[in-house]
């Protein structure tokens, strides 16, 4: 069983890295032939950096749209972020002081994460127009994340697992030195679902993670009159080549 999980995580890791890498490569190499920033837009690259940060960190546009979706969505994402950081302790030989400090409060982030996810799930089911746009996978993602959260909470607060062994297992993965995993139900479910998430991420709507940074509507500088912007394929068009010159 431990070998199976070790193999699963090794595969999941590489699928995630390669899959996501290929997708990001595709986004980078696909040209944006026209200037289409959503205006008012920043006039400088620094401005664009702030704009993207505001979107990625505070979900600024979602806030404008709908306070409930924003509340649940932001709660979930920020909690997940804290939870992920806390999980670093399984991968670092020596746990730094700040991580220990963060952990003392951060362990409750798992609860807020689940609350956010449940809120999103309830909205998806209860609001007819959101139910209309939901596919089975949209529900499944929320359920998967909720179960990951609940199994995590279970291990942390109720049925403790042998975290020393878990840490040995995790560090062993890094060096292909596979170690034994405690065979607890919650842990096995938790890890299996995390691996599934990692494997499916590059093939799913979770591509919004890189996608948010690649939307030309938000990542372009508003300077079309000052700087001519032309894509490679556009340069090969007939009109471009036969352009009248003064």
């Amino acid at each position: 069983m431990s070998e199976f999980y070790a193999l699963l995580f090794t595969v999941a890791f590489w699928v995630l890295i390669i899959g996501l890498g290929l997708k990001i490569y595709q986004y980078i190499k696909t040209p944006a032939p026209l200037k289409i920033p959503l205006t008012p837009a920043p006039l400088t690259k620094t401005g664009v950096g702030f704009r993207l940060a505001k979107e990625a960190i505070f979900f600024a546009s979602l806030f404008k749209s709908n306070k409930w979706i924003w509340l649940f969505g932001w709660l979930f994402h920020m909690s997940l972020f804290i939870v992920l950081i806390i999980h670093l302790r399984y991968f670092l030989e020596t746990v730094p002081e700040w991580l220990v400090m963060l952990q003392s409060v951060g362990k409750y982030a798992a609860f807020t994460m689940v609350i956010g996810l449940v809120g999103l799930l309830v909205r998806r089911i209860a609001v007819p127009r959101i139910r209309y746009i939901s596919d089975p996978s949209d529900y499944l993602w929320l359920i998967l994340l909720i179960v990951i959260g609940i199994t995590g909470i279970t291990m942390r607060f109720f049925s403790h697992t042998d975290i020393i062994s878990v840490k040995a297992f995790a560090i062993g993965l890094e060096s292909f030195n596979w170690q034994q995993l405690p065979l607890d139900g919650p842990l096995l479910i938790h890890l299996a679902l995390v691996a599934i998430l990692m494997i499916l991420l590059p093939f799913s709507k979770l591509l919004h993670i890189p996608g948010i940074f690649f939307a030309p509507t938000r990542n372009q500088v508003d300077n079309p009159r000052e700087q001519r912007h032309v894509s490679k394929w556009a340069l090969n068009l007939e009109a471009e080549k036969n352009k009248k010159q003064p």
């Binding site: 032939p33 205006t39 008012p40 949209d138 093939f203 709507k205 591509l207 919004h208």
Partner: protein, 517 residues
């Protein structure tokens, strides 16, 4: 007129309940081969339409990062679901921005993603069938490419990009909208969307000169094809004869006269509008844009100035440099291209225009931000200039101004309901229903603040309002051009208006009264 009900103005605009299939099958007339062939499209459904459509989709995915990213990154959060004026007016869930995008996305997933190829049901992927194609034709012509949904999307997904791609795919399998494609052939053949030939245009311009001289005593020149002027004026052809557009054109003429800028229109490029944008065709948009470059070179001008038109200003401001640049042969001391409002506003700032606001005292005005100007372009040198500059000009021309509800103006302005290639009688139901949110906001300021008129800076908005206002119980001439207000208020040097204000015989007019705004 088609049989449909004009939506009721609601006291409290709440999110409407979805009515599946409410607008199913509502589509524009299909274009004809005689138009399509000229634009590089087959004009009829080819035998292998499915392969052709998918090949085009693949081609567009590889050429447009926007499309590729937007197809992947939607999380179905629902943020956009209540933001589209066509959804609000029709309640059809396929008019929710995400619903509209999904018509294309579910096919993208089926043929271009692993999940959709092997687990279609799980991710809502579907085969491309004629029914899907019909849905595309219907619902991608119930979008005005106004980008209001984009403002609210956490991923920055722009439905306009998706709509343009879908229309381009449709055109490649012979299902384009007749309205846009017929107009594009007219621009190419005659020089403008309305099919106004050079001699007729010349006649109109001469009439305008006479009219202004009669009204003011000042000889304001309206040149056509005159070489060596300072500026080429690009304006939507509706400005040459439609109401209230033409009153705006008179305003540009007076402002440019006061500025001492000589200008001409070109009979070959007598159209600022560029429907290549609406149909999502880079090639056609470029071809239309090249006329402007050619006219500027032929007429040896130093500047290009654009009149009041929404999507034309988007193409001019955002794309003209890309499509037809570089414009290194023009005077680099001025923005290329420049908006007429930038010219007028600059003069007002420098106190170079004398305005008699009382001329517009019979009106209380509000301003309709046009979608393409608000969310896809800029004026001036600061972000948001596209909101401040038109308002500053209006306030300099009138005493009574009120903004509509802030949830319907500036970057979240509602489309007039007729943009993006929908301004055609065969889509009247879509237009009337899509106008609802704007009409509600107008009704509110009419009732609460006594607004009598709404000013706009877009030819499509002006035409759409003229048709829509009566449906919602307003007077059809309540819509005015911003430069129409300027035209009424402006006191040109040496005009009869100046004499009236300063008293006859008083020739000392060196110190014009300045504006407080």
């Amino acid at each position: 007129m088609a049989d449909f009900e004009t939506p009721k103005i609601r006291e409290y605009p709440v999110v409407p309940i979805i009515k599946e299939g409410a607008m199913e099958g509502t589509s524009p007339f299909v274009s004809r081969p005689e138009f399509d062939n000229k634009l590089g499209y087959p004009g009829e459904l080819p035998e292998d339409w499915k392969d052709k459509a998918l090949a085009k989709m693949g081609d567009l995915l590889s050429r447009y990062r926007s499309l590729q990213v937007f197809m992947d990154s939607c999380i179905k959060c629902g943020a956009c679901t209540d933001k589209c004026h066509y959804f609000i007016g029709t309640q059809d869930p396929k008019n929710m921005p995400v619903g509209r995008q999904d018509l294309l996305r579910k096919v993208y997933r089926r043929y271009f993603t692993f999940a959709g190829k092997y687990f279609p049901k799980l991710v809502g992927a579907v085969d491309l069938t004629e029914e899907v194609l019909d849905d595309w034709f219907s619902y991608y012509h119930q979008c005005s490419e106004c980008r209001r949904c984009t403002v609210f999307c956490p991923m920055g997904i722009d439905t306009a990009e998706v709509t343009m791609a879908a229309r381009e795919i449709l055109a490649h399998v012979g299902k384009a909208s007749k309205y846009s494609n017929e107009i594009l052939t007219k621009v190419d053949r005659i020089g403008n969307n309305l099919g106004l030939p050079g001699p007729a245009l010349k006649g109109i311009l001469e009439d305008l000169e006479e009219e202004i001289e009669e009204d003011t005593g000042v000889a304001v020149k309206f040149n056509m094809d005159a070489e060596g002027c300072d500026a080429l004026l690009m304006t939507p052809s509706a400005d040459f004869f439609a109401e209230p557009h033409i009153d705006g054109l008179i305003g540009y003429g007076k402002v440019l006269h006061e500025a001492g800028i000589t200008w001409t229109v070109s009979s070959k490029a007598s159209e600022a509008a560029n429907f290549g944008l609406f149909i999502g065709s880079y090639e056609n948009m470029q071809k239309v844009s090249m006329r402007i470059r050619e006219a500027a070179i032929d007429l040896k001008v130093k500047r290009i100035i654009f009149g009041e038109c929404g999507h034309a200003w988007r193409v001019a401001y955002s794309f003209l440099n890309t499509l037809a640049g570089p414009f290194d042969f023009l005077d680099q001391n001025y923005p290329i291209p420049q908006h007429i409002l930038e010219v007028t506003h600059g003069m007002l700032e420098r106190n170079e225009l004398r305005m008699n606001k009382e001329e517009n005292d019979h009106m209380t005005l509000t301003f309709h931000d046009s979608c393409n100007i608000a969310r896809a372009s800029r004026m001036g040198d600061q972000p948001g200039g596209q909101f401040e500059i038109p308002r500053a000009v209006i306030k300099a021309a009138c005493n009574n101004y009120v903004d509509m509800d802030p949830s319907t103006t500036h970057e979240v302005t509602f489309c007039c309901g007729g943009g993006g290639g929908t301004l055609t009688d065969d889509l009247m139901e879509v237009r009337v229903k899509g106008a609802l949110p704007r009409m509600e906001a107008l009704r509110q300021v009419t009732d609460e603040n006594g607004v009598t008129n709404v000013a706009a800076i877009c030819a499509i908005c002006k035409s759409q309002f003229t048709k829509m206002l009566p449906y919602y119980g307003f007077e059809m001439d309540a819509i005015v051009s911003v430069h129409q207000l300027v035209s009424s208020a402006i006191v040109m040097k040496g005009s009869e208006q100046e004499q009236e204000l300063d008293g006859a015989g008083d020739e000392d007019n060196s110190a014009p009264e300045t504006d407080t705004d």
